[in-house]
Amino acid sequence: MHVTNDPVANNIRQIYPYRVDLENCDDEPLRHIQVIQAHACLIALGKDDLIARYVSGNSQEIIGKPWQEIMDRHMREILPYEITAQISVGLGREDGFETLNPIQAFFKVGTERVLKNVIIHQNGDFLLVEVESASEFIQASRYQQLLSRAIAKIQQIREYDNLFTETAKVIRQVTAYDRVMVYRFDKDYNGEVIAEARGENLEPFEGLRYPHTDIPKQARELYLKNRVRLISNGVETPARLHSSVAVEEAPLDLTMATSRGVSPVHLEYLSHMGVNNSLSVAIVLEGKLWGLFALHHYSPRFIDYSIRSMLAFVGQIFSGHLSLQSANRYRQETLTRNLARLAIGEMITKTRNLFDGLTKGTHNIRNLFSGISGAAIHFENRYEAYDTTPPLEDIQALIRFVQEKGNPESNLVFTNEKIGEVFKPFEHYCDEAAGVLIIFMNPDFSDWICWFRPGISQTITWGGQPEKELITSEDGTRRLGPRRSFARYVETVEGCSAPWLKEEIDTAISLRITILNSLMERYTEVKQVNEQLKKALQDLETFSYTVSHDLRAPLRAINGYTEILAEDYGDQLDAEGHEIITKIHAGVQQMNSFITDILELSRVGSGGMQLESLQVSAIAAEVIAELLPVYAADTEIRIEMTENMPTVIADKRMLRQLLMNLISNALKYMQPGPDSESALQIGTRKHGRDNRPSFYISNTGPSIPKEYADTIFEMFSRLSTQSETEGTGVGLAIVERIVNRHNGKVWVSDDILGVTFNFYLAPEQL
């Protein structure tokens, strides 16, 4: 907007002692405004000499002395005795003048003696003495009544939601303002009218939002120091603040002055709104400006200091109540979530599975937070997504983004309500994943849990278009004017999720700790079990070694006596007696081979290995020669063995045992093939992707069912208990142990002649 003459710009130039950049409202140095509102007279006394150095131009009207007669005089010459006496008292007090204000005294204005309220604040090297009207009819007892009624009412409010409206009502009753609003700041200091009490014919403002620029940063800082701000009459000309030559025109800091002049920009703003009088009370929560009681009146009025300080007190009571209620609500919600979190922790411990524990219980990560569109877990290279989530690669890209960007708040938790804005690939997931909450299990960001919240269209009703207007004057000054229109302006914001509340973020952090604890517990458990197993295995080996040796003695006794019986008393036995002796021998024989195998098993499990390059064919031939008379004395068996098989690196004794067990196994379970011929074939072939040479021992006979292919290598496993063939069930377990100790593999297949055992050894790769 272009104007020929901008009175506001002119005013600004007049009220500040130095040039002020007007294009940025945040830069306006409000505390250095060198004017005083017309309702009060301000005298600044040097703290040490108590001589007046600054005097407002309206002193004649208010205390009956022109400012020139006050300047550079000692307070005794200016102020009544009641005041100077109290100033001496206040200077000696630790809490200064807070409990003394207001000090009442009569001033002689013209011919009248007028009762005034004097309010004193210390601000740096100066005492700010403000003199303003005192309402005689407001008695001390009446404040007390009003105050205790207001406090009682506020403290009776149990419902959090009612607190605001009820408080506004109470304040309006006490102050008789046209409009009383509870104005709350969001995290960006945009304001919203969350409750109001207003006169009958007034347009409601409740629900309206005001941009953060309406109350700029330095104004908010002033509210933290000086919590009540009265603008008694927006159209009255303020009084200039004169300064003594002694202070060389240095501006007086008016932060603590209650009658500090008003920025012309703000006055313009109020006049656009039609407000003549405004009274604001800061609500401070945990050291931050939570909001304001904003009181508007459409005609001038003066509010006695006592009522203003009472309102400040009501503001404190209110914020105390607020923090109590929000702490209660926080505690309640945290309690509920804690229960859910503990249940999840228990579930993890119970199921011994992180994924099941997090998702299968009544309480789970899918219902831990409300309004979740989906969740995803990444843990130890496993990824699971639940409900609606973006695809994994995009989530991973997001994780990398968070990792690279670094998380200023904390490394472990990341939250965002509009992730698409900072991370473009998520822009088109706005519907299902506008908000994200991520907890990282470990500092390297590899394991995480991620929750998504859908984007919601939020309707924001602004009290007028939020943008400010640039006003350019003919003389070239440019300034931002306050908003001119306060007509409702509805804006729809897309792509934002419901906010992640503090209690939700805290719950996520606690959940992370719960998960880590459960994992640690599980890890410790597994480690313990492992160690117990190791120990048990060692014990078992020692035990089986000892036992099998000790078992041999009684076995020899049974065998020996049976033989002696047969030899020496054989002629006294009949055929049945001899048959029994044969059966005893068979039993002993079986027991003996059992012991041999167990011993062998414990032997291959422990002890050193002597690796050497060995010819498999040579050892196999030896073994076959040894075994054939035992297993196939009466059977015709065709034996084929590939010549020039590759050598293997192995412990000779173990390799021999391995071949012995596999070949004896083949001979034991051999049955004639399709052409009624029994055959054994030993050879080598390539195996696997890397064409590793493997050896095989194949025999004619029925193939081993697939379901047993793995279990046959377990100890004491035999395919059929009714099997006619003898066996201890330890033989293949020994084979597998030998193969394992040689970093190899053994497996069964049903090719070549029928049943084929394959193995390779690779001890050199250990």
Binding site: H549, R556, A557, G560, I564, R653
Partner: protein, 142 residues
């Protein structure tokens, strides 16, 4: 001079009995002196070293209470009067390290106890015909 005796140190009475029975089946069996452990055997031998003749052969089990076969073996082989006495270790263990250790201690032979009585008979037979007969020809150094 040797007595026609075999010393057997064996804590298991059944094994001792089998050995005795197997021995008796020989044509002209030597006398068996059975000691239940190494200590008993050492005492018996110290008697004979002073006044009597040494046995032709000592057969020692390894695992015995009090003094083990290997301990006894070491003592015998370190004593001038008994170091030429042929000693055979007879054990149920076929562990290579047991066998190696026996020879390290100076054993003249190592036999694994057969499971079958028949095998024991054959073994005793060959012990008799080899160790006892051949040793008869050797000059005795005291």
């Amino acid at each position: 001079m040797y007595a026609n005796q075999i010393l057997l140190a064996e804590d298991d009475s059944t094994d001792a009995e089998f050995f005795q029975r197997a021995l008796r089946r020989l044509d002209s069996p030597p006398e068996l002196v059975w000691c239940k452990n190494g200590l008993e055997a050492l005492e018996g031998l110290s008697d004979v070293t002073n006044s009597k003749l040494l046995p032709r052969l000592a057969i020692l089990d390894i695992k015995m209470p009090g003094m083990s076969g290997l301990e006894l073996l070491a003592k015998l082989k370190s004593d001038e009067r008994t170091k030429n006495l042929p000693v055979i270790i007879m054990s149920s263990s076929d562990e290579p390290q047991d066998i190696a250790m026996a020879y390290d201690y100076g054993a003249n032979g190592y036999l694994v106890k057969p499971n079958r009585f028949q095998d024991l008979r054959e073994l005793v037979n060959s012990i008799n015909s080899f160790w006892i007969k051949t040793n008869r020809l050797r000059p005795m150094v005291m």
